[in-house]
């Protein structure tokens, strides 16, 4: 990293990982104290930011628009949720070792696919591996047959619809419409205590920093350059002797695994996961975070995830009817007027007026122009 960027990153990381939790740990009544609610809300936004980073990797850099990332988020969340359900043990409403909803549905013994989730280690692996493997299989089948562009988007949207329908079914033994909730402890720590939540928050913030470093490493590597080349002209990359399918598959899998991690962290902090979080609408909402923040930059998705969700919290509390209109308007406005998003536009403006050299932004602009030229018929 260049020096200035490194310092910015470190400052942001310290703020998120150390300062905010420390302020939260201040005694009650202190004027600088960050409330548990605010910290929890921030933690939720941070999980969204991890998810958005993954989406940016596949969309902003490789140019593949996936409308099914809610599924990968959900797979990670359900994997963690299943472990937390089993941790409740016999302390549930029905005093049964089985999760309450199973007792209610008259399931007498734990379904086979639930059993491995008793192990914390397995769960931690599954959070990454299950979405990763699903994405790898799905990606292999689609990229191999050169499904690209809007075709890929539509197929992934159908995937989101199917996943939503499937997870809604009671017979899947995943809690149906109500999903998984009522968790008590996470790896032995009681979830309703402020210290546990603080710990979870720190873990989330660390994961976000890790995800950022990972994405940066991928993007800056030679493979990252190939990804951008695929975005700009897949056919040329193919003719140059590279296999676009392999690169896309790799980055799609990484992106899904990041979404899974985000989902697992989300469940611990929000305390519930339902099929409503993995359907068509939430999947496409995730795209707007990246678009608003600025795709093709790594700061953009984080900014977008915070900004859009903060706006959503604000609007849904005060003007619930307006939120959907605002969301739709955001899609239109971003696509028409600020295609580079907040961060991309800011970088451009800085390049023009501030005199500071940001080759990334300049390159992004010329690439964008080239992409338009290439794809227009």
């Amino acid at each position: 990293m260049r020096t200035r960027e490194r310092w910015t990153f470190l400052a942001a990381a310290v703020l998120l990982v150390v300062v905010l939790p420390a302020l939260n740990a201040l005694p009650q009544g202190s004027p600088f104290r960050v409330s548990n609610f605010t910290l929890n809300l921030f933690g939720k936004y941070l999980t969204y930011a991890i998810l958005a980073l993954g989406i940016d990797l596949i969309w902003g850099y490789a140019g593949v628009l996936s409308l099914g990332h809610g599924v990968f988020f959900g797979l990670g969340a359900y994997a963690m949720g299943m472990h937390l359900m089993l941790e409740i043990g016999a302390k549930g409403v029905y005093q049964n070792v089985l999760p309450d909803f199973m007792v209610w549905n008259r399931v007498t013994e734990l379904p086979l696919f639930w059993r491995p989730f008793k192990s914390a280690l397995f769960t931690l692996l599954a959070v990454v591996l299950v979405p990763g493997i699903v994405a790898a299989v799905f990606g292999f089948l689609t990229f191999r047959s050169r499904i690209r562009g809007v075709y890929f988007s539509i197929i992934t949207q159908a995937l989101a619809l199917c996943a939503w329908l499937t997870f809604n079914r009671n017979t899947m033994n995943l809690g149906g419409t109500n999903g998984l909730s009522g968790f008590k402890t996470m790896f032995g720590f009681p979830l309703n205590e402020a210290s546990t939540q603080r710990g979870l928050y720190v873990a989330t913030a660390l994961c976000l920093c890790g995800a950022y470093v990972l994405c940066r490493w991928i993007v800056r590597s030679p493979a990252g350059r190939v990804l951008v080349a695929i975005r700009d002209s897949e056919t040329r990359v193919l003719f140059c002797g590279y296999s676009p399918a392999a690169f896309k598959l790799f980055v799609f899998t990484v992106s899904a695994a990041l979404a899974g991690v985000a989902g697992a962290l989300y469940v611990g902090q929000v305390g519930i996961i339902t099929p409503a979080r993995i359907g068509v609408l939430p999947s496409i909402e995730m795209i707007i975070w990246v678009a608003v923040g600025g795709r093709g930059t790594l700061i953009g998705p984080v900014v977008g995830a915070f900004g859009v969700n903060w706006l959503q919290s604000l609007l849904t509390t005060h003007y619930p009817d307006l939120w959907i209109l605002a969301l739709g308007g955001m899609f239109v406005a971003v696509v028409l007027f600020v295609p580079d998003g907040i961060v991309g536009t800011a970088q451009k403006l800085m390049a023009r007026f501030g005199g500071a050299k940001t080759p990334e932004a300049a390159a992004a602009r010329s690439e964008e122009a080239k992409a338009v030229e290439m794809t227009s018929r």
């Binding site: 628009l65 499904i147 562009g149 159908a158 619809l161 199917c162 496409i284 696509v335 227009s376 018929r377």
Partner: protein, 562 residues
């Protein structure tokens, strides 16, 4: 109503005390007079015997009395000369501490008037109530049913006649047999005759002589209707049934099952075709827009919803302003929904989409945003709940084709509409100059523009046309499903699957893909349920695309990849 009117003329001087006799009079036969008196008896056996006697007369004038008897509103009043009279009382009126009731005659339920012609009010406490025990109610019910059934069997509407026959058959009351046999002799309609025959056989199967029962079982097997299946199965497995009857029932079960297998297959095929034609109507618009401009229109479902709401508004207008022409509202709504959705599509293309050509993913997001806004707009304007669209009478009901199969008119209409739409699109695209220009722009935009085709105008009009087709699809959907703000979302993913499978801008591919996906949906559904049906279709589409990445009919040559 008609009967009441007749009764109003038939006033009865023999029974009503101060009878203001007008018009035609028909006094009841002496045995009826006797039975009416006996019905009020305190002896339950005499009462029931009289009720049955009244029922046997088949005289419809007596129906109100039987109904009143069941409700417990029959009383006996003493006449001045020490005589007693059976009367029906009306709704209670409280006056001071007294409860007054209007009185009606037992024969025909005519208001009893006092000397000055006013309806007579009597003190309820002075009247003697006729007890209605449980056993009397049990006797009364089939009698009343038989009365109403007989009336309905003569109804001018054949669906009412059919329903009455089916009801009588399921009731299985032997008292209904004469009425059914009479009706059968007069009936000309094939499907009502069928229903009556089945009803007769069902009744005989239940309460006929042993020979009649065997005969009835065999006949039911030959008729092949599904209504009798449960009862036949029961008989075939009953331990105490006579062997001949058991055998006949078992044979009949086999025949009925074989027949229902055939009818079910046809039903599934019909449902598949009907779902396909809805998908086709939607996908047609999507496919030409996608083929021409490479634009995935995520707001297509909402354009469809606009068409549906246009139909709803038209229907409301007709209800309010021209109720006499309500049956024709659909003929107005159909072109109107085309225009509304088409205008919205035109505005959409001119307003925003034209700035985004060559950037399909951005267009996808943009149209998604617009779809959210239209959806929320509809929700704010019309409310989040589904609205009711009443089908015109000529679209309700169905066309019976064979035993056990009735094809609903609304679904037939949609199939017809889709066929017409496809034919019109074909003619437009391949037989007109405008279509030639559309095809030229689809193939090579730059070259077409060089040769003088105003490609931007072609874009806008094609987009409007595709949107208008969505509006028609929405209008058609109001006849078979719920109309709500989320209407479009239910079909949008399926119709995208059709476009992806069919290939870009290929009419034939779109048709075949719609038929394939719609049919597959309905074939898988019974076995796996709707949810896994959808999942299975996704899998099938992905596997299919493995073999044919650009859809059923891929473009060949230099346009294949850009």
């Amino acid at each position: 109503m008609f009967i009441r009117l007749l009764l109003a003329l038939a006033l009865l001087p023999g029974l009503t005390a101060p009878a203001a006799a007008q018009g035609a009079t028909s006094s009841p036969a002496p045995e009826i007079v006797k039975a009416i008196a006996e019905v009020a008896s305190s002896d339950a056996a005499v009462q029931e015997g009289a009720a049955v006697a009244l029922g046997k007369t088949g005289d419809r004038t007596l129906l109100p009395l039987l109904e009143a008897l069941r409700e417990g509103s029959v009383y006996v009043r003493s006449l001045p000369g020490g005589k007693k009279e059976t009367v029906i009382v009306g709704d209670k009126v409280n006056e001071g501490d007294k409860t007054l009731v209007p009185l009606f005659t037992a024969y025909g339920r005519e208001p009893i008037r006092s000397a000055d012609g006013k309806p007579l009010l009597a003190d309820l406490s002075k009247l003697q109530e006729v007890p209605t025990g449980r056993s009397l109610r049990l006797v009364l019910r089939p009698l009343i049913d038989a009365f109403s059934g007989t009336t309905q069997l003569a109804d001018p509407d054949w669906t009412v006649r059919q329903a009455a026959a089916v009801k009588m058959g399921n009731g299985g009351d032997a008292g209904a047999l004469p009425a059914l046999t009479d009706a059968l002799a007069k009936e000309k309609d094939r499907w009502v005759r069928y229903a009556i025959e089945e009803a007769i056989a069902l009744i005989q199967l239940k309460s006929g002589s042993p020979a009649e029962r065997v005969n009835a079982a065999t006949r039911l097997g030959a008729l092949g209707g599904g209504d009798a299946l449960d009862r036949l199965r029961e008989l075939a497995n009953a331990a105490d049934a006579p062997p001949a009857l058991k055998q006949a029932a078992a044979d009949a079960v086999k025949r009925v099952e074989r027949w229902s297998l055939l009818t079910q297959t046809i039903q599934v095929m019909f449902q598949g075709v009907s779902l396909s034609s809805i998908l086709l109507l939607m996908a047609l618009g999507l496919a030409i827009i996608f083929g021409l401009m490479g634009v995935i229109n995520m707001a297509h479902g909402e354009l469809m919803a606009l068409g549906a709401y246009a139909t709803y508004v038209t229907q409301g207008w007709f209800q309010g302003h021209a109720p006499g022409f309500f049956g024709y509202y659909f003929l107005v709504a159909l072109p109107l929904s085309f225009l509304v959705a088409g205008a919205a599509g035109f505005a959409l293309e001119r307003g925003v989409i034209r700035f985004l050509y060559g950037r399909p993913l951005e267009t996808l997001l943009l149209t998604w945003g617009i779809s959210l806004m239209i959806q929320q707009g509809l929700r704010l304007w019309f409310g989040a709940a589904n609205v009711d669209v009443i089908s015109p009478t000529w679209l309700s009901g169905g066309l019976p084709v064979m035993v056990g199969i009735q094809l609903p008119y609304n679904r037939l209409f949609i199939i017809g509409l889709a066929t017409v739409a496809v034919a019109a699109m074909y003619l437009l695209l391949f037989k007109t100059d405008a279509g030639l220009r559309v095809r030229a722009v689809t193939q090579n935009r730059g070259m077409a523009a060089c040769l003088g085709v105003r490609s931007r105008r072609v874009d806008a009009l094609t987009f409007a046309l595709g949107a208008g087709l969505a509006g028609i699809a929405g209008c058609a959907l109001t006849q078979i499903g719920n109309v709500g703000p989320e209407l479009g979302q239910n079909y949008i993913v399926d119709s995208f699957m059709v476009v992806v499978t069919g290939g870009v801008g290929k009419l034939l591919g779109t048709i075949l893909a719609a038929l394939g996906i719609g049919g597959l949906n309905k074939i898988i559904e019974p076995g796996f349920g709707a949810v896994f049906g959808k999942v299975a279709i996704l899998v099938v589409v992905i596997v299919f695309i493995q073999r044919r990445p650009s859809g059923l009919f891929a473009a060949k040559g230099r346009y294949a990849d850009s």
